[in-house]
């Protein structure tokens, strides 16, 4: 039903669940370890495409794979990957489910799964499914093939309670996106500090250009801006603690985030709550707006000929203590259901999906994202992909996204509170008190 309203390649409109401590550890480890893995992707060689899933004999028979890739490019790319699956004894049937429907029905889907292999998200969002025993422990796939080609950070993001449940597949990062040609023509350069950003905004507005394109229909886009301001100002750990309910929304540090946001808000397109992000991005494409805080997936709706003109920079420094040490980079991947009909084939296929070969094929058709495996052909990355991959690999901390880092019910409440703030910025104290009471009830 909702698919007609706003199909979105976004970090999901529907929330997800966190199991607090265990995943916090995972998220922390993810941050550190991605940095360690930084150099790996750059020096990958291509001889790693072993298919050793379950270790023993080769699998055969039919395997059903679920897909929520309802956008054209990713869908085509996934089909190409599965068509190229090397073990010809396995027949793969793809079960395509609409993206939003899939997420709304995930609990029912996983309790009586029609497919053996299914798409899902890393970190916190694994927890409710894994802890309920709905996913298969695929630690052996990691031991047999993935450990060698994926960095420790991605492994942690795939881990719940010491076992691996996910094969990381793609990721992308959030930042401020802009058109190089537009910025050249007005003589602007990416600001490094918040003060520079404010100055630039004032200057752009003086020239009659809207500084920030912004559409908050669906309530998640504002979460992206909030996350950036929050971890730039208060640091990664504060983000984690706030999402877990261990810090307060009425804390002065949280209020400071909204104070900064209120300074930036006049430089955003007006009336964001009723605008879809695609419409906001159109203003960016048309040059009516100069920049947009969004994920790399914004490239998916850029016309191909303009794609080279799209660039992005990390959200500027707000607090020297934290600099730009945190990147928001949601990871998507594949899981095997708890009781697959064809376990051998399922493990073999997810092992294959974890390889650079499979991910290269996917990226060659769907270039809006980056892939995690060592050996992924980074030379084929466009400038934006390369920059994003580089940022993620050199970041001290990686967050997933507000609605992937806390309880889904609470993410929904936060989204509503942000919409209230957009509508009435001066009422922020009351809004935050209300949000805090919800955090206490839910987290």
């Amino acid at each position: 039903m909702t698919d007609i309203v706003k199909p979105s390649p976004s970090p999901s409109e529907v929330g997800f669940v966190l199991g607090r401590r265990s995943v916090l550890k995972g998220a922390v480890a993810l941050g550190g370890a991605v940095a360690l893995g930084g150099t790996l992707a750059a020096c990958g060689d291509d001889d790693e495409s072993s298919e050793a899933g379950s270790g023993g004999e080769a699998a055969s028979g039919t395997l059903r794979v679920g897909s929520n890739y309802s956008d054209a490019k990713p869908n085509e790319a996934l089909k190409a990957v599965l068509d190229a699956f090397p073990n010809e004894d396995v027949t793969i049937e793809l079960n395509e489910v609409d993206h939003n429907t899939y997420q709304e029905q995930i609990v029912a889907y996983m309790q009586d799964p029609p497919d053996d292999v299914a798409p899902w998200f890393a970190a916190y969002r694994l927890v409710p499914l894994a802890s309920a025993g709905l996913l298969m422990d695929i630690s052996d796939v990691w031991t047999n093939s993935l450990d060698d080609i994926l960095s420790e950070g991605f492994k942690q993001a795939s881990t719940y309670d010491g076992k691996q449940y996910l094969v990381p597949w793609t990721f992308y990062s959030w930042g401020i996106h802009y058109r190089k040609s537009v910025w050249d023509s007005i003589g602007a350069t990416p600001p490094e500090t918040y003060e520079d950003l404010l100055a630039l905004c004032a200057e752009l507005q003086g020239q009659g250009v809207t500084p920030f394109a912004f559409g908050n229909d669906g309530r998640w886009p504002a979460m992206g801006t909030f996350d950036q301001l929050n971890f730039r100002l208060n640091g990664y750990q504060y983000h984690v603690d706030l999402m877990a309910g261990n810090e307060s929304w009425t804390d002065d540090r949280t209020k400071e985030v909204f104070a900064r946001w209120a300074e930036l808000l006049p430089y955003h397109q007006e009336n964001p709550n009723g605008r879809e992000w695609q419409d906001a991005a159109q203003a960016l494409i048309d040059g009516e707006a100069a920049m947009m805080t969004i994920g790399n997936f914004v490239g998916d709706i850029f016309p191909n000929e303009d794609l080279d003109d799209l660039d992005f920079f990390p959200f500027p420094v707000l607090n020297d203590e934290h600099g730009t040490d945190t990147v928001e980079a949601p990871i998507d991947g594949w899981v095997v259901v708890a009781e697959p009909e064809n376990e051998a084939a399922a493990k073999e296929v997810v092992a294959h999906l974890g390889t650079a070969d499979a991910q290269n094929t996917f990226l060659s058709i769907a270039p809006g994202v980056q892939a995690p495996a060592e050996g992924v052909d980074t030379s084929a990355y466009n400038a934006l992909q390369a920059k994003s991959a580089d940022l993620v690999q050199n970041a001290a901390n990686v967050t997933q996204f507000l609605d992937r880092d806390t309880l889904p019910a609470f993410a929904n409440e936060a989204g509503q509170a942000f919409a209230d703030f957009m509508s009435d910025p001066f009422n922020i104290d009351a809004i935050l008190e209300d949000l805090q009471s919800k955090a206490e009830a839910l987290l």
Partner: protein, 340 residues
């Protein structure tokens, strides 16, 4: 004129017996008639009663009672063994606790919707039906035009209102009323009428307009059917007696439409309570929540601890609906009985 409960029962009993009697072509029956039927008859009656009753109980009342039960629990929807009994905690949260602003705004929106449906689409629908009943040229075309929104699928309705009517920049509504400026029809959550943090928001008014668009045609068709069945001689005698147009409608036509009025009242109240679809496809911003929306928001997704809360919203909605139905049924039978 008020009937006592016992006489109501008797009347209903006699009514049933009369129906039974006429099918059987047996003479007049008293209040204790079942013994006069043959064994086969009784078995047929029993089957006709029990089969629909069983189906009804199974698909209506069992889920209802389970929902009410779930509203007293905390459950993430995964595995029956994770259901945890929490008593009235969910109700406490939504009525007195952290979620009360959402809850009372939603209840208030349901009330706005009810008032609006009565004073907007119902009156308009009645007026349109009255005009169309006059056999204007092309009245069939008008009928079809006004009725079309009722038969459109939800996907089309969502597209029409979100993208064609209410687009901020290029929407028809923006073009007609925006005066050259972009208008945030669905995102503007400012209150027009406000009291103590609750009120009627601008975007909810935009949604009401969309609801009216569909409800008017529906009401119109009902009244049109009613008007078509009014005996022409009534109108003729009214005009012979020198009634003007309004007097004819008020004192002659309207009273004959009583059965339609009853149906319209029921449809409108039920629609106001269970309204969901248009609001759901247009509901992105705040202050447009309805009880049905809060229920759904808490039930879909990969689950948190909120199926209990969703069920609590659903139970409140159910209580309002069943309250109306009970009140209505009681009154309806009373009036019918007293008018006999």
């Amino acid at each position: 004129m008020t009937a006592t409960p016992s006489s109501t029962e008797e009347a209903v009993g006699a009514d049933r017996a009369d129906t039974a009697a006429s099918t059987k072509k047996v003479g007049r029956l008293g209040g204790h008639g079942i013994s006069q039927f043959t064994g086969t008859d009784r078995r047929v009656f029993l089957a006709m009663l029990l089969i629909p009753l069983t189906v009804h109980v199974l698909i209506v009342w069992v889920p209802t009672i389970l929902s009410i039960g779930l509203s007293l629990t905390k459950w993430n929807g995964i595995g029956l063994d994770t259901i945890e009994w929490v008593g009235v905690e969910n109700y406490d949260q939504i009525i007195l606790g952290a979620f009360q602003t959402d809850f009372f705004q939603a209840v208030l929106n349901n009330v706005w919707l009810l008032l609006f449906l009565f004073f907007g689409p119902t009156l308009l629908g009645m007026f349109l039906a009255y005009l169309l009943d006059k056999n204007l040229r092309g009245s069939r075309i008008y009928q079809s035009v006004f009725y079309t929104p009722v038969v459109l699928s939800l996907a089309v309705v969502g597209f029409i209102w979100q993208n064609i009517m209410y687009d901020q920049q290029y929407g028809l509504a923006t073009w007609a009323f925006g005066g050259g400026e972009a208008v945030d029809w669905l995102g503007n959550q400012e209150f027009v009428i406000e009291f103590g943090g609750y009120g009627l928001s601008k975007n909810f008014i935009a949604i009401l307009a969309a609801m009216a668009w569909r409800h008017t045609g529906y009401i119109m068709v009902l009244y049109l059917a009613g008007l078509k069945s009014v005996d022409v001689s009534l109108k003729e005698s009214a005009s012979l007696d020198g009634c003007n147009e309004w007097q004819t409608f008020r004192h002659v036509l309207f009273p004959t439409l009583k059965p339609i009025n009853v149906i319209v009242v029921v449809i409108t109240v039920i629609e106001a309570l269970r309204a969901f679809d248009i609001v759901y496809v247009l509901n992105t911003p705040r202050n447009t929540e309805l009880l049905s929306i809060l229920t759904t928001d808490n039930l879909i997704g990969e689950g948190a601890d909120n199926i209990g809360r969703g069920s609590a919203y659903a139970t409140v909605l159910f209580a309002l609906c069943i309250g109306f139905v009970l009140w209505y049924v009681t009154n309806h039978y009373r009036n019918q009985e007293s008018s006999v």
